[in-house]
């Protein structure tokens, strides 16, 4: 530091210019008192559990998986883009690779051909991972529930933390759902898996029955398969 510059970075507290500090501490001028400082008092330290700290960090910065399925993905794109701008809430960076994502929004109807792929994408995401089911189709199959090819809700395949109902939900509703998810993460809640989902299994491990016998020539023993029991679907 050159001699000519005013030396404003002194470390001796008695030498520090104290007008603002005095005003702040004495309470004559509270313009500089942030909420944080009010909460902490004079001490600049926070004591917290590391778990709680990590939960807060996780909830405050979430990377979403760029994952479009059906109609809801249009409203999801609107949620990411101008006007609604999900990024304001620290949750709006879509990542194209599941390996970089924390949250998967499932925006649409899941059908038999797609469910194994979605399961695979979900499996590729690193822990901890969270799922927001967007729209009625991810709750129950929605308007397509009676279709021969439609999986009756995302929870048949992967566990879901937050359901956002609607067909499709408005962007505001999705933002509310994501904010709720952030709140849950920050308070350390986790959601139990309530449904026994369809799993990917090796074909050889399936119980032998009529369908398996019919397909025995088409599918190898060690191919991964997903078996749909439509009659048992909710």
């Amino acid at each position: 530091m050159s001699d000519s510059a005013p030396d404003r970075f002194r470390s001796d507290p008695t030498q520090v210019e104290t007008d603002t500090r005095d005003a702040r501490i004495s309470g004559t001028d509270d313009r500089f008192n942030s909420k944080l400082r009010q909460a902490f008092g004079a001490s600049p330290f926070i004591l917290t559990k590391f778990d709680q700290f990590m939960n807060w960090v996780r909830g405050s910065s979430m990377f979403m998986l760029q994952f479009g399925i059906a109609c809801c993905s249009i409203e999801m794109m609107h949620t990411y883009a101008v006007k609604h701008d999900l990024d304001r809430f620290g949750a709006g960076v879509p990542r194209a690779s599941p390996r970089q994502a924390d949250v998967i929004i499932v925006p649409g109807t899941i059908v038999s051909k797609f469910a194994p792929r979605m399961k695979r994408v979900y499996d590729q995401m690193p822990e901890p991972k969270f799922v927001v089911g967007m729209g009625s189709c991810t709750i129950s199959g929605g308007p397509f529930q009676e279709g021969y090819n439609v999986v009756k809700g995302a929870e048949e395949v992967i566990p879901v933390d937050i359901h956002v109902p609607g067909c499709p939900p408005r962007p505001e509703a999705l933002i509310y759902g994501v904010a709720k998810l952030q709140e849950r993460i920050a308070t350390g809640e986790s959601s139990p898996v309530v449904v026994k989902p369809y799993e990917l299994e090796e074909f050889g491990d399936l119980d032998r029955d009529e369908v398996v016998d019919q397909l025995a020539e088409e599918i190898d023993e060690d191919d991964l398969v997903m078996r749909y029991n439509w009659a048992d679907s909710p």
Partner: protein, 555 residues
């Protein structure tokens, strides 16, 4: 409106004459007539399909195989080939091919019309008709291990199904010799940012070049046809069309169903409702094209860049107007048989004001789009002369909409087969001769201008519409039961092209067969034609310029 027509009798006579002329052409193969409401139907033997279609194509100028419908009756299977002419889509014919129940085999039309390839695969997949001489008859929408054909009469929906998750193998691996000419297999999708949904492209590469691409669809096959067949005409079907092409094109899709059923059940639509329909539909077209342009730029430029945000900004404006009109942002459910569900929102002046506001700003935003994309050198390098689709190829694949118009095919149902209020208004059909990705982009941007012209005229009309003549719905019975065995195929110009509905009634209040002719399904078929031999970034650009929406491809 009826005053300007030359009189229904003269029309009917001309149609009958044309039908007899066509019958004379293929007379030796025609076993009987099975006329549909929209076109004469010729019943032919299963082994004469190629002959008949070839003759009609060459001699009667029926060069557009719009749709192939398969269905099962109690005593037979039936495939229907809906033929049209690109020059005049009101010149139509149906070729009906019945096949016996125990041996549903018929000759494939794929050697005559290339588009029949996928249509017949779908018919095989869902109904179970087998086509001889077909290049590649396998399932298209359902997984290859599916048991049974879900739209056949004896299908048991409760039976379990097993779907494998396999690695896909390089189809050309066996052709390779030694180290030379090594090819690489690449999966693009079903979860991939550039596929606009859940499309799966099985791509084989030689270095950077695509030597084979095989679109694998069906990852969003939501059984729309089955669900419509289970619903009643009057109220239950109308919500579904919104979900076929879900990029805000809802009203255009609803119109496809409305037009078909209004023809079938002979329902009149008041003129006032037609104007509202026309205005709403064009607003939807603008929203749909905006997204197409935005995501196309996204594909070509990279991540969420400014142009995508611009497109969404303009879509939000349109969606606000549509929300005022219909009460919904995306799934409007606004049309009813014989009209629309409610009148324009009050206060009307405010509503018109908001539309005019939007239209006033539109030229400025289009200027921005042209500055940012079409005038941009980078985009031009990426799109000019890539993804070339010559008009003859486009026609043989049944391409319609901006894809066909970008190849110089002057085909727009709003003008050529008028419905609604289009023929009373002043607007132009946009075509470009470039045949490449750039032309398709330009067509969409210019169509936005034309749509704006239409909307403006509709607003003018609606503002001055006499207060005592605002009938929004004609008198339609609560339950609709069209006569037994009435068949109709009607199409409208949706955002992506010709969206057709085939319906057959069986005297109940639900359709016996409901078939959707999706423009994207046919347009997507042209992708290998455009991409084979090109670089892989051009494949992505071509896919973006096709502007497919998987909800409509898979239905």
């Amino acid at each position: 409106m009826s005053l300007e027509e030359p009189g229904p009798d003269a029309d009917a006579a001309a149609v009958a004459r044309a039908a007899d002329e066509m019958e004379a052409l293929v007379g030796e193969h025609v076993r009987s007539r099975d006329d549909h409401l929209n076109a004469p139907g010729y019943v032919v033997r299963p082994d004469a399909v190629q002959d008949v279609l070839g003759t009609l194509r060459e001699e009667a100028n029926l060069d557009h195989l719009s749709c192939v419908t398969a269905q099962e009756y109690e005593d037979r299977y039936e495939s229907i080939y809906h033929l049209k002419s690109y020059d005049d889509p009101t010149h139509e014919a149906s070729v009906v091919v019945p096949t016996p129940k125990d041996d549903p085999r018929s000759e494939s039309a794929a050697p005559v019309f290339r588009t029949a390839d996928w249509h017949e695969r779908e018919a095989y997949d869902l109904v179970g008709v087998e086509y001889e001489d077909h290049p590649d008859l396998r399932r298209i929408l359902l997984p290859e291990t599916w048991q049974g054909h879900p739209l056949s009469l004896d299908y048991d929906q409760e039976r379990p199904q097993i779907v494998p998750l396999r690695e896909h193998a390089n189809p050309l691996e066996d052709d390779q010799e030694g180290d030379e000419g090594e090819t690489m297999y690449l999966n693009i999708g079903p979860h991939h940012p550039a596929t606009h949904g859940v499309l799966h492209l099985k791509t084989t590469l030689d270095g950077e070049q695509v030597i084979d691409v095989d679109p694998d669809i069906g990852y969003l096959h939501r059984c729309e046809e089955q669900l419509c067949q289970k619903s009643t005409y009057r109220y239950q079907i109308m919500p579904y069309p919104d979900r076929w092409d879900y990029i805000s094109a809802g009203l255009l899709n609803e119109w496809a169903y409305a037009r078909a059923i209004e023809d079938m059940a002979d329902i009149e639509v008041p003129e006032y409702a037609q104007v509202i329909r026309t205005m709403g539909a064009e607003l939807c077209r603008i929203a749909a094209h905006m997204l197409a342009v935005g995501t196309f730029a996204l594909d070509v430029y990279g991540d969420f860049t400014a142009i995508f945000m611009y497109a969404v900004r303009d879509r939000e404006k349109v969606q606000n107007i549509l929300e005022d009109l219909t009460g919904q942002r995306l799934m409007f459910n606004y049309f009813r048989l014989g009209g629309v569900v409610w009148d324009l929102p009050d206060p009307r002046e405010e509503f018109f004001e908001s539309i005019r506001d939007f239209l006033d700003h539109l030229p400025g935003s289009l200027e921005e789009y042209h500055d940012l994309i079409s005038a941009n050198e980078i985009l031009q390098v990426r799109t000019v002369d890539t993804g070339v689709l010559p008009p003859e190829v486009a026609k043989s694949y049944g391409a319609t909409g901006p894809v066909a118009r970008g190849s110089g095919v002057d085909y727009d149902l709003r003008r050529d087969d008028p419905y609604g209020y289009y023929d009373e208004l002043d607007w132009d059909v946009v075509t470009e001769d470039g045949m490449d990705n750039y032309s398709r982009l330009l067509v969409r941007l210019r169509e936005v201008e034309e749509s704006a012209k239409i909307i403006e005229q509709c607003v003018d009309l609606l503002e001055d519409w006499p207060t005592d003549d605002r009938t929004i719905q004609s008198n339609v019975p609560r339950t609709i039961r069209p006569d037994d065995d009435t068949e109709v195929y009607r199409a409208v110009e949706a955002a992506k092209g010709e969206l057709g509905i085939y319906m057959r009634s069986d005297g109940t209040e639900q359709p016996a067969r409901f078939k959707i002719r999706s423009p994207c399904f046919s347009n997507l078929q042209t992708l290998p034609e455009m991409s084979n031999g090109e670089y892989i970034p051009d494949l992505v650009a071509s896919l973006g310029s096709l502007d497919i929406v998987l909800g409509e491809v898979d239905r």
